[in-house]
Symmetry: D2
Subunit: 454 residues, 4 copies
């Protein structure tokens, strides 16, 4: 018996494959599903089922892809009318050799949310593990706001009961396999540790110590971002989508070919780090550093245009493509061969993003020559901020552009410089020639001993 | 924070690497240690410590190899005078970023046995996991017979207290990472499941339900094999050994070169399956099928002569080499290029191992023309056997040769045919031309509806 | 500029990828085309063209697969009405950066055969390499019998002129990249060396020293096998076929499931070596050792039934699948999990293939108790044979069954024992209980000093 | 028979492995020699010999490493007293199955230079290939200046005769396998094409069309750089060196640890591209972009201090380590974990490298406010340059610092911006606060239509 957790980089999405003898099943697979097939192949097993914990919002689920390759059946929770696969009932049991998997209806995050309880009959009838999807995370629980404000209170109550009446009764020794880890947009404060047990959560998860009233209040008060791309994911995961066969192969393009592709309406996505971007970038680029791609692309990129990439190293193309297809951006059409250096060598126009260090920034603000724009998400702003800074989340920057002053320098300052760079490039593309990135961000600001509010 | 379990094929030995930020440690590494280094490299971390749970008996520990490559410090339990590394005290604490690892003295399997308790200060101060070495397995506990009959009772009591007073008090939610899995020679009845929790063991581990008196009696009565190579492993693990640099590269040899090497005193090790061996094998070969290599080589092969391999497929050479070096057989000198077919094509002499099916076997026994020799280990014999069969464990066959009748056919019959083949080849090498392997073994015997005793 | 030769194992088929800057093309790709894509990806290049040297007969060409993945255009020679891609004219030129590729019509093997001449304008205008397909091999030339007896003489003349008037005039320094290497069924006596030059062929290729008259006579007299599957390949390569997306994933089956699949009409293909087969095999199996799969499967396996595999090691499944799909056997449906040992352990019936060594064989023949059946292809028989042996090529054995004596032992003897095993299993499946395989074959026969004719 | 060319990235060094049956040999191996062992292992062959074409100057030869791992004998040309291996005589013959390798003394590049001629007795006795080391390249021939000015004329004559009397007489169809490809510091104008034949070189190599007098004059007039590290390589390759066991594993360091290591005397090597460097770099860094590492590190880095790396992506660390050890920089001690971004986030000081575009540069020069410093090697400067620019090769910049004006802006401008960046960073480290890099370099300058001299 093998249980392997597969993490989708950037999304902090955890999927699982369980192999017992010649049979295997997958929980919440990602679209680039070769990883599950390879494990099954290595073990001489066949994937017969895909269990979805819920209609996911933050990525395109890979059930269609796994089914297409293996013939596995996709299984959903009850209460939502999926256009593919089968709908399970609460308590439905599946046998995989000595293993028994029981579907446990645990609504709250959504109405159709399911957990899956694993029993190893070889050793007894206690739950050895549970796949909790977005109901229970390590140190956190699921959000209840996504299905809509009218359902939120009802779902918060439901989640309380799913947690206390169903999951916490499984036994302290039951291992918890959640749907997300730290950094996911699906949780506010998930632990860096990817694994836990019911017993550990009972002792350490602050949300599980609340009364029902406190719990519902907490959930109702939670302010998490809802990136605009969620709606598209929900629709694709409900209605299904054509199974992707192989990853897209973006075409290497010369600077001229790249320029022509952009002129034909392509979207330019620059995945380099802020120090590179400040050296030179192409006007009009959406700038998201590679490690931040999963978190920000859904806020900034449209789905209709083909995407053309600028990367530091061609080895990064595949990583970028994987992240993009998991979020439904299948049309990754090309990349700039030879990178920015080749672009520069051929004499194409470029922009420089001027940067400030924290000392310069502070001086300029003091002298009234600059304002600080903080582009971080709301919850980070609430934790710590620079006095006097204005807060406009980078995901909303375009729609709140009128709030950004044009008469003075705008020092975009995030925690380290990544999102500051994103914001400053965006502002410059929109005509704000006075936008700067603050290298080092609040990290360097604090290291310099300058004042912050918490 | 990452915890990865690495299994050493065949030995069912579990080692672990834990990475937290830029630091990492390894528990009970194997000698071919590139796997740990690759994980550390991937995570941008440095392995600073190797924690040994005890002086292992069944494999050469890779602490020297990891230390040589990374500078990590090897840490041992107290009470045994290791010639390398550092000796820990009970309760000694190590910090790895947010993680805290506490050495917990848990004698019983041996006097210096240590467990290591992991706390994740990011979430609280409860034990999130414990590395239990050979104290606690999933569904089983450590054996107490290895240090010697005079110490056995004392160690059995010690183990009881280590389990109940130290490990079981960690909290039901603590995840258990044992030193071995199912199939290890270090446990009698370890579960197929590789992971567990204190809570699950409390509910499901039969050894933990015994009183101290019952427990000690059980341990004293346990009859497990002690392969002769254990002594060598103990010595190497106590005194250290030169760190292996890279895996041995057995030389591909033509049939002529292979023969010459054997004539110069090489040991011939045939790793093919019983059906292949029955077709043709080279006289004098020690026959152990590849998947059984780890379990049987320590019984059958001497350490002094260079080893020459016969395999089905050259891809299997590396797998064999890994298993052999883990058990201290570093001198894997060559393999037969082109396999048995090339040997045959060049007209070299070979033997055929005649086989019997279960129907033939039964008829011969009934007619008094054959005896069944069961070469399986004692504990398997105790579980099920064919009435009238004689039992000589293959590991002891050479020393108990006088018990094997020479006047009649000897039908070597194990559970399926693997060990029967080993035994029959060994008998034939020793002059028993009347030895046969029973294909399908007791499995097929039962499938045919023939009688067994349990 | 990169030229890489990719060999398709077993078929001795050579395909090529040429990369120049951001562009690449492929010559005669195989179906499992990931290898070309990976090279192009590594080099940051795009495959824009597939050049076919002719309608191949011995494998399914991968042009559809490459086109599907990359958008490349498939290019054919003139004179045959392909249902896909584009037809080239003699002398048509393609530019890839500094490279120039010229299509050179070189009929003879077939009417539409093309060679492709590469010029590197960076260094001059001489031909630096030529892709000769099945016109010119290292040490051999193409066969002219495949399009039909009525065309053979005309094509032999055409080939002479293609060689002498077109290829040999390219310059002695031109590197020759042929379509096949040693072991291909497309040539009689291709060199073991995979590369050559026009100059080397002029000096060393015996076929190029003949006058036109001698040459045509030689070609007309050539007796090469034409496996029945050629017709299917020709049709698929002419009319196209649905592009394969990913390799088939044969399902691991338990012995019971395997048996059921066979009972439902599956074909059983046993890929183990003769020594394994002689130990135990399943009645009805087509036995072809893995390294001989490409050479013999097209003679022995039908295309209509799903194929179920028996292998020595699960690692061999993928290798087998690749060979099979290259020959159009896409329906590789399953394999026996746990191999023959599992089959035996569960008590399923099996057959033993008795073997003879060469000494036994010779004695039996002398005593009139056995005949030797030589199952090798005609050209091997012509090279060397055992006096008194009867020759029935294994590919024709089923249709010439009436020639095989049933009153005496039939000792199937090939060069080493592989094809003897195939033949003996086939005979036993057809009711010849007197069929044996001679281990070591003619190789061992000669090594023993017994008589042969040459 | 297999011949594989292995290119060492950056050095444009070609090594070769030849496998024939169970034997293999290597020509001019690199130190990270796993690649040869893996090929030999895959083919079931043993590497028995290493043939060195000469005492290499531009990299540490891997003969010691291959010998250590395989027992192979290192073979050198005559006339130099190597401290390891064996010295061959002209005409000495080695047999590898059907292959025959003949050592051919071809002095000129050095006195002990050897070529190795391959004959395939399976097809005839003509030379099928020749390994020419640094005697003959594709489109070029070896330099004769390295052993010293007093020997140069004599060696130039010797090279002429080695080429015409020995190599060119091998036959036009002989394939040429040279020791270097385009971009090597060992040749001035080597073709981009990595393979050739004697016939092609006869037609296309301009050096082979010269008379002896012209040839010697040409060689005597050749002006190629001689990086200072050559002397060290020559010594290591003559006297041998301890075989490297495994690649160095640089330690991931936090910004603080990184700073401390530098303070203890470590050398800082920044491998990022110019756009990144211009955004932020650490004062004191030697800046060489990764693809230029092999070409420039030997000019700029000392051998005595441990090296600490800054990279864009941790995946680049291994690539960098490989290049460095090939050049004898074994002490690659650490790298900055999290890259520059982490450095900035923690508030450590950094420098910005201001850049100019070509338009700004031209204006400044026109206004007398800047001079252009061209840091390219001499031969590039001779090909094309900007009128009025001053030329100081970056490898000599430190020793010619007094020539660099300090009263005005210094616009470092190379072909695209890579070496301009190197030079500008070096100048700034040395106190020239007026140094700038020109992004796009001469490439962009020409694209803008500005004047150049050729």
């Amino acid at each position: 018996m093998i249980v392997e957790r597969i993490e989708s980089e950037g999304l902090a999405h955890f999927s699982y494959i369980v192999v017992e003898g010649s049979k295997a099943f997958v929980v919440d697979p990602r679209r680039d599903c070769e990883v599950y097939l390879a494990i099954a192949r290595r073990e001489g097993a066949r994937i017969t089922h895909v269990f979805e914990t819920h209609r996911n919002e933050d990525y395109v689920i890979g059930s269609m892809e796994v089914s297409e390759r293996t013939g596995a059946i996709a299984c959903h929770g009850p209460g939502l009318d999926f256009d593919y696969g089968e709908t399970l009932e609460d308590g439905q049991v599946f046998a995989f050799g000595d293993l028994e998997l029981t579907a446990l209806h645990t609504p709250g995050h959504t109405d159709e949310s399911m957990s899956y309880v694993l029993v190893d009959k070889g050793s007894g009838y206690d739950a050895v593990a549970v796949f909790t999807g977005d109901a229970l995370f390590v140190g956190d629980v699921g959000r209840t706001d996504l299905p809509g404000p009218d359902k939120r209170e009802r779902l918060s109550h439901a989640l309380f009961h799913s947690l206390h009446d169903r999951l916490m009764t499984l036994g302290d020794g039951t291992i918890v396999h959640p749907g997300h880890g730290a950094g996911s947009v699906c949780g506010g404060d998930i632990s860096e540790r990817a694994f836990s047990t019911i017993g550990l959560e009972r002792l350490q998860n602050p949300l599980l110590r609340l009364t029902e009233e406190e719990f519902v209040k907490d959930r109702m008060g939670q302010r998490l971002d809802r990136p605009p791309y969620f709606r598209r994911m929900e629709s694709m995961n409900l209605h299904g989508h054509p199974a992707m066969s192989g990853l897209p192969e973006p075409i290497p393009l010369s600077p001229k070919g790249f320029k022509a592709a952009l002129d034909r309406g392509g979207s330019l996505l620059d995945l380099r780090t802020p120090d590179s971007v400040s050296g030179a970038y192409i006007k009009g680029a959406t700038s998201i550093w590679l490690d931040g791609l999963a978190a920000y692309v859904g806020w900034l990129m449209q789905y209709d245009a083909p995407i053309y990439l600028v990367v530091e190293d061609p080895l990064q193309v595949e990583r970028a493509v994987r992240i993009l297809v998991r979020m439904g951006y299948d049309n990754v059409a090309g990349y700039l061969r030879g990178g920015m250096s080749q672009w520069l060598r051929e004499g194409h126009p470029y922009e420089v993003l001027p940067t400030l260090n924290v000392h310069q920034t502070r001086d300029l603000v003091k002298q009234g020559k600059a304002v600080i724009l903080d582009p971080r998400p709301g919850h980070e702003w609430e934790e710590v901020r620079v006095p006097g800074a204005m807060h406009v989340f980078v995901g909303e920057l375009q729609s709140r552009l009128s709030e950004v002053p044009s008469f003075t320098k705008v020092a975009c300052m995030c925690s380290a410089g990544f999102r500051g760079s994103m914001a400053a490039v965006m502002l410059r593309n929109l005509g704000y020639e006075n936008a700067f990135n603050v290298l080092g961000g609040i990290g360097a600001w604090k290291a310099a001993g300058y004042e912050t509010e918490e």
